[in-house]
């Protein structure tokens, strides 16, 4: 399948944290946001999303709270904690390093 990319191992956490930077969001919303921002290229499996959300909560990077959507539906909203923000910065710089390194390694040889 050329039109869909699997989320790389280890990048899901970064994507979730990054998504929550814009404000609290519920699980479905997070999945939608990631898909929309990737131009429908990244498809997050619910089977990975929810365990990941709980794992982040366990690590103390995000917090959860019941709230109401624009359509007046009850949902559990996740938001970044202070520790989560610090983690996001760390993960971002790590990711940039990976991208740069990968690019250098994959650069065509002259």
């Amino acid at each position: 399948m050329a039109d869909k990319l699997d989320v790389l191992q280890g990048t899901l956490d970064l994507l979730i944290l990054r998504t929550l930077q814009w404000g609290p969001q519920h699980g479905h919303g997070i999945g939608q946001a990631i898909r929309a921002r990737s131009g429908d290229l990244l498809q997050v499996e619910h089977g990975s999303l929810y365990p990941a959300l709980h794992r982040l909560r366990r690590e103390g990077w995000i917090d959860s709270e019941w709230g109401v959507t624009e359509n007046n539906q009850r949902a559990k909203f996740y938001r970044l904690t202070g520790a989560g923000k610090r983690q996001l910065v760390a993960e971002e710089s790590k990711w940039k390093l990976i991208v740069k390194t990968m690019a250098r390694v994959l650069r065509p040889q002259e």
Partner: protein, 873 residues
């Protein structure tokens, strides 16, 4: 890590709510998704179905999320615990017996050991008892250790030495008087090092200052007990004045109540000794070792000093060396026998308890091998199976431990109520923590060990075979497991028999001791301990005359039928003894002393034998004519008359002995035997002398008053009227007597309780194993009944196999008891360790218990419905 664990535990704690929220979260996701799809144009039903499809396997995702939070070992433990508790509830008999066994083992052992340790081992209530040593003279020829002389002491502790501090002391019971009252107190003179050796801190006031030792200030430090008795409180004692033998001392400080050194001491005063004698061993000495120095090093140092002194003073120091012994060891020395006996009993009871638990767990594992095999076949991992069985063992161990703990506390309380009230430091007895932990650890260890072994074996079992064979012959059901269980039962019976024989012997000895005739009557006899200070010969003679007036005045009191004095009351503190010579038979010279006969020396006033109810066999009692300047006279006991005069009359013969006067004394009377030293000892030969003819030993007397009623107050007043300065202590002859046998009596009681516990545990153990064996063979018995065997046949078969095990155990136990009996010979009174009644009684008791234990399950098995039993297979 910390956050993670904490959050996990929070989640686990709120798990039911969290699980519900999880469901709600997924539900809300589905609803939001469905609504979006509906808004995009799908029909509500389509939208809902699509949302479900998109979400995937809801249960699996929820499971994955729970996995994120799971505290796996905790959950498994919880499951195992629940399962274990359920499986124990299913077999309440097994659970009950195991828990009871452990509880009895832990509780009874801890309680008894706690009391024993406190009462008999006399733990030292000093800051660092391990570092304190007694410094003693060692006579190398006889290996006898004794007091040190003033001159030697100075050399022994002269720096450099291995001692951080050292002190010498001397003293004993002295009559002490305060404003309100007089009493006999253990009082000791010490030098300045005393407070440093014991690192003392006063509870009120101060210690004696070092310059007060130099000047021999008239100050004293007293024990808290003394302070409370005399002044109401420790603080009130400071500044008060006390008197003894003409000295007036001001109390400057009070030491804590639990400090008693030397034994029972309550009064300490400074004594600036300047005695440089090398030969008079007047002092006892103790020292505090420097940190890190061992007793061996101190001994080596003292031995070196000994060698130096031998060279310097060959005339007096040949064969004389010095030694250091930790105080703890000195105390242990005294009660080593009792200690070993009780430790042995503790060990045996613990062994029985462990064997019991082992047996039960082995039997249980056998019975459950099919269940285990089934679980293994269904995919339970080996570690899970072992863990499961282990959890059950620990559960049993913990339940037993908890009940045992309660038993230990209750037991200590009960034992204290039974203990004789004059035992030292009774008020300080607590459950001994070390003993409690030790017993807990041993029982838990046994439960885990014996739970683990069958668990490991069971987990390794060939599943196919075990499932196919069914419950009766699983992992351990075959010959080997049965053999082990049988051996354990026999061992248990053997141990219980040894303990029961021991208890039986002690009980018989106890009865014999209680029935013994001491030779005197103890009922209705008041004992007044009185002391008249005297230093010169004239004062001592005067003291005798004063006592005579006191006796006369006491005899006038209403209800009093006799009053007389003695130095050397039976079981009292003032006995003396030595060699004597009969004129015409022996030569009384120092080089002949070893060949001379030996006797107890006692001084009495006229009328003493009548007051004690001792018969005069021949001759006369002392009378008012037997004074210092009259012809010295002596009365001999029947045993002495028999031993030395062999049927001839001793009357008119003359005897000389090693008491202070070197004179021949004419025998004027023969009296009945008395057990003067100890009710447990056969009467010794005795020489009774007139107290007024030996005045130097006769100013501290016990006055025996025979009266129909309690005349102690009237007696006190009578003596105070004659001289208010005479301190008087009131007691009864019964009290002296029962004090003398209180300790052996208590020791026997403890051992009897021990043996009772062991016998009960062994019976429980036999019952447990027998009932399992019967249950195991239920199918076999059912078959036998179906094939025509009667209930009686079944009972005979089952009881027979139990009886065989018991008989083997009894045989082994009997052999051990007969061999080991010699070890307690010295503690027995009036019976031999091979006493047939004690041994026969123990065998009968245990046989009956074992048969009963085998009979009950056998009877149950004989009533089984054969069809039912066979179908269960």
């Amino acid at each position: 890590m910390g956050v993670r664990m904490w959050k996990r535990i929070q989640w686990w704690w709120r798990r039911s709510q969290e699980n519900q929220e999880l469901d709600e979260e997924i539900q809300s996701h589905l609803e939001i998704d469905a609504r979006e799809r509906a808004q995009a144009g799908a029909s509500p039903r389509e939208a809902e179905a699509a949302a479900h499809r998109a979400f995937g396997n809801r249960t699996r995702i929820a499971e994955q999320i729970r996995e994120v939070w799971s505290v796996r070992w905790m959950e498994e433990l919880g499951r195992d615990l629940r399962y274990g508790a359920r499986s124990l509830r299913r077999t309440p008999g097994f659970a009950f017996v195991s828990v009871l066994t452990l509880a009895l083992g832990i509780g009874a052992n801890t309680a008894i050991f706690s009391v024993v340790k406190n009462v008999l081992l006399e733990p030292l209530a000093y800051t660092e008892p391990g570092r304190i040593v007694a410094v003693q003279t060692l006579w190398t020829k006889t290996n006898h250790a004794g007091n040190v002389s003033g001159g030697d002491y100075a050399d022994l502790v002269a720096k450099p030495s291995p001692f951080a501090a050292a002190t010498r002391y001397s003293g004993g019971e002295m009559p002490v008087e305060t404003a309100g009252q007089a009493e006999f107190v253990a009082a000791y003179g010490t030098d300045a090092g005393f407070a440093d050796v014991f690192q003392l801190k006063p509870v009120a006031g101060r210690l004696v200052a070092s310059d007060e030792f130099r000047t021999k200030a008239t100050v004293a430090v007293v024990g808290e007990g003394f302070a409370v008795r005399h002044f109401g409180a420790a603080k009130k004692a400071v500044g008060q004045v006390l008197h003894w033998e003409g000295n007036a001392l001001t109390i400057v400080g009070v030491l804590p109540a639990e400090f008693h050194f030397p034994l029972k001491a309550e009064l300490w005063f400074p004594e600036p000794w300047e005695d440089t004698s090398r030969t008079a061993g007047n002092y006892r000495a103790v020292a505090l070792l420097k940190p890190g120095v061992t007793a061996e090093e101190a001994r080596a140092f003292l031995a070196a000093v000994g060698v130096r002194l031998q060279t310097a003073f060959p005339a007096t120091h040949t064969g004389k060396s010095f030694t250091a012994t930790p105080l703890k060891d000195l105390f242990l020395e005294r009660s080593r026998m009792t200690l070993w006996l009780l430790m042995g009993a503790v060990g045996l009871v613990m062994l029985v308890a462990c064997v019991n638990v082992a047996n039960l767990l082995l039997a249980r594992a056998t019975a459950r091998s099919r269940e285990i095999a089934l679980r293994a076949a269904l995919g339970a991992g080996r570690s899970r199976l072992v863990g499961q069985l282990l959890v059950e063992s620990v559960l049993l161990g913990l339940a037993g431990g908890a009940i045992g703990l309660a038993l230990a506390f209750a037991g200590v309380t009960a034992l204290l109520r039974l203990a004789p009230p004059n035992l030292p430091r009774l008020e300080q007895i607590r459950v001994d923590r070390v003993a409690l932990l030790f017993n807990l650890a041993v029982s838990l260890g046994a439960a885990v060990l014996f739970g683990l072994w069958p668990a490991l074996r069971a987990a390794r079992v060939d599943l196919h075979d075990a499932v196919k064979q069914g419950g009766t012959r699983g992992a351990l059901g075959g010959g080997r497991g049965e053999w082990i269980r049988g051996a354990l039962v026999s061992a248990e019976v053997a141990i219980a028999l040894v303990l029961t024989v021991g208890a039986g012997l002690l009980f018989r000895s106890f009865l014999a001791l209680n029935a013994v005739d001491p030779g005197y009557q103890t009922e209705c006899r008041l004992v007044l301990t009185a002391s008249i200070p005297a230093k010169t010969e004239a004062q001592h003679l005067q003291a005798g005359a004063t006592f005579e007036r006191i006796f006369a005045a006491l005899r006038e009191l209403p209800g009093v039928s006799a009053a007389a004095g003695v130095m050397g009351l039976p079981s009292g503190p003032y006995g003396s003894d030595g060699s004597y010579a009969v004129e015409g038979m022996h030569v009384f010279r120092s080089d002949q002393f070893l060949t001379l006969p030996h006797a107890g020396f006692r001084l009495t006033s006229p009328g003493y034998f009548a007051a004690m109810g001792v018969p005069l066999i021949a001759g006369r009692d002392f009378d008012e004519r037997d004074l210092y300047d009259a012809e010295p006279v002596v009365i001999v006991s029947a045993t002495l008359a028999r031993q030395v005069f062999r049927g001839q009359s001793p009357l008119g013969r003359r005897i000389k002995c090693g008491l202070e006067r070197d004179v021949w004394m004419r025998v004027v009377g023969v009296v009945g035997d008395m057990r003067n030293d100890n009710p447990a000892q056969p009467p010794a030969p005795e020489l009774y002398m007139s107290y007024r003819q030996h005045p130097y030993h006769a100013n501290d007397l016990h006055i025996v008053v025979r009266a129909q009623s309690d005349v102690s107050e009237a007696a006190r007043k009578t003596i105070a009227q004659i001289d208010p300065k005479i301190p008087v202590k009131v007691s009864t002859l019964e009290q002296f007597y029962s004090d003398a046998i209180a300790l052996p009596r208590f020791r026997e009681l403890l051992l009897i309780v021990f043996a009772g516990v062991a016998a009960a545990l062994a019976t429980v153990g036999v019952y447990g194993v027998m009932s399992y064996a019967a249950a195991q063979r239920q199918a076999e018995m059912g078959l036998r009944i179906a094939l025509g065997a009667t209930g009686g046949d079944v009972v005979a078969i089952l009881v027979g196999s139990g009886a065989k095990l018991a008989a083997i155990g009894l045989g082994c136990g009997l052999a051990i008891a007969l061999t080991a009996g010699r070890l307690i010979d010295s503690m027995l009174y009036g019976i031999r360790p091979q006493d047939p009644f004690a041994i026969g009684g123990a065998v009968l008791l245990l046989s009956a218990a074992a048969l009963l234990a085998a009979l009950i399950p056998a009877l149950r098995a004989s009533r089984v419905d054969p069809a039912l039993a066979l179908r269960e297979e």
